[in-house]
Symmetry: C2
């Protein structure tokens, strides 16, 4: 696949994910119009829609797509609510995200908290719409499993848990050991990628063995992506990264590269992405686009 072919296939999939996400957003009407606007403003702030794309590509490997769309929208709502709450003054205090004002900056801090709550809650209402396409007990069981994976990986034993430890250690200025760092990366970054790919596979009919492989593949992608981020922070140029070099170092926040060094980190990224593609090759279906997508994420220069 040439770089142009990949770019064009990626754009197509982003457009598809955007259109599915939009179809599940609430209408901005009624007494509570303000919070519905704030929720839609947050979701429509852009982004590459990587999680819904990973979900759909994983589902394609196993074939049955009829339960999928509500979960694609739901995982993007979960990702978005986490950003809305991260940006709050009591958390990262960010006023801009992707060049636009953050949700709390536009709607106020109180409505920012509520919009995040509303989005997490609405993700559940949205995912539950998959039941409208359930035809038999097997479909019900798949939805139940998908819900269990999605909310475990996004909660205190996943994303929220990682976020809690990250925020706590930033405040405490405690030096970070490798185990703690990996806990944060696994939960804050990898968990939602794991959820995306596992939910796609489960809904499409993968058996438990295949879902376990998918989980390991997604873990590798998430961690390799995160280490690449840390490497770029050290060796990248300000222009390519769009942020000051070494900004995390300035904050005294220990990274993977600080602990292992650049060379070892590069080797780890390569080993993890190699393992991820090997796992994919052991699964049915066409994985060419997924493999290119992984490469684009772990080999990126910005």
């Amino acid at each position: 696949m040439t770089a142009e072919e990949f770019r064009s296939q990626l754009d197509e999939r982003i457009a598809d994910a955007e259109s599915i996400i939009k179809s599940f957003l609430p209408k901005e009407e009624g007494y509570q119009k303000l919070i519905l606007e704030a929720m839609n403003y947050s979701v429509l702030a852009g982004g590459k829609r990587l999680r819904p794309i990973f979900m759909k590509e994983s589902a394609k490997l196993f074939g049955d797509m009829k339960l999928l769309s509500p979960f694609m929208a739901a995982i993007e709502m979960i990702h978005t609510y986490s950003l809305v709450h991260d940006d709050l003054p009591a958390m990262d205090n960010d006023e801009l995200r992707r060049g636009r004002k953050t949700t709390w900056k536009v709607y106020g801090e109180d409505q920012g908290i509520l919009a995040g709550d509303g989005l997490l809650n609405f993700s559940m209402e949205t995912a539950l719409k998959a039941y409208e396409s359930a035809e038999n007990l097997e479909d019900h069981v798949r939805i139940a499993k998908a819900l269990q994976v999605l909310y475990k990986k996004s909660g205190v034993y996943g994303m929220v848990g990682g976020q809690c430890v990250d925020v706590y250690l930033e405040g405490a200025k405690t030096p970070m050991d490798m185990d703690t760092l990996m806990f944060i990366h696994k939960n804050k970054t990898a968990a939602l990628i794991e959820a995306s790919m596992m939910v796609g596979a489960i809904l499409a009919g993968a058996d438990d063995g295949a879902v376990a492989k998918i989980e390991k593949c997604a873990y590798n992608i998430g961690i390799a992506f995160q280490i690449r981020d840390d490497i770029l922070d050290v060796i990248g140029t300000g222009e390519e990264l769009g942020k000051p070099i070494g900004s995390d170092a300035g904050n005294e926040k220990q990274t993977y590269v600080d602990i292992k060094g650049i060379d070892e980190s590069e080797k780890d990224v390569e080993a993890m992405s190699k393992e991820a593609t090997e796992i994919l090759e052991s699964l049915p279906g066409d994985h060419e686009f997924l493999k290119e997508l992984i490469l684009s994420l772990v080999d990126r220069r910005k």
Copy 2:
């Protein structure tokens, strides 16, 4: 039923609900111990556990109890997360609740936000445990319906929606008309009572007609409870209420009593609680305790 009999039956039910809620709380261990502690601290702050009790009493009317317990814990987690976020500095800025420091006051504002997020997310993980007791398609369908009701009533078309409008109007100091006030009461107060009773009925096997009756009954209880609150705020004594008389009036927040006057408000409470008990009487099972519970809530002097 004498006052003592009611009190003793209520205490028994509170103890039962407490024990069910506790059995679903997370163990305080692992890297993310801090947020698990903050979540448990919030849930264990006390309270009458009215929502789980309403859920179980409604289920008893229809009989099948095997799917119920996880949902009892889940609705208390939802109620609790809403209090944790309400108390935040950017919302009501409360440092005390039921005589104890609020969650953010103990764990910090950032962990307070995350603990609320963690609880809402964990409510889903908890409710989904009902699948462990599902034996057939009928059980799966009941759980699906219960999840749909629970998260609709707790989200932007329920509790969060009411909260959004309440917070917005408080900030804007806009005078409140009756329609807006009823929107807030229906969503902020009644919606979770509706969810409690409907979920109990659905899981226990009630048909759609009975669930619709239960919804109306719960709506009446929620609104009557709220109007009673407004009346007490005007006529109560500081000692009985445990807060300064007319504190809402001091905040220029318009209440039901401001709009309709005390006498009309008293009549409305009576009519609504009468209708609620009449609906109960049209349903199967033993409603004696539920009727006493309603009376205790709408006739209370504090």
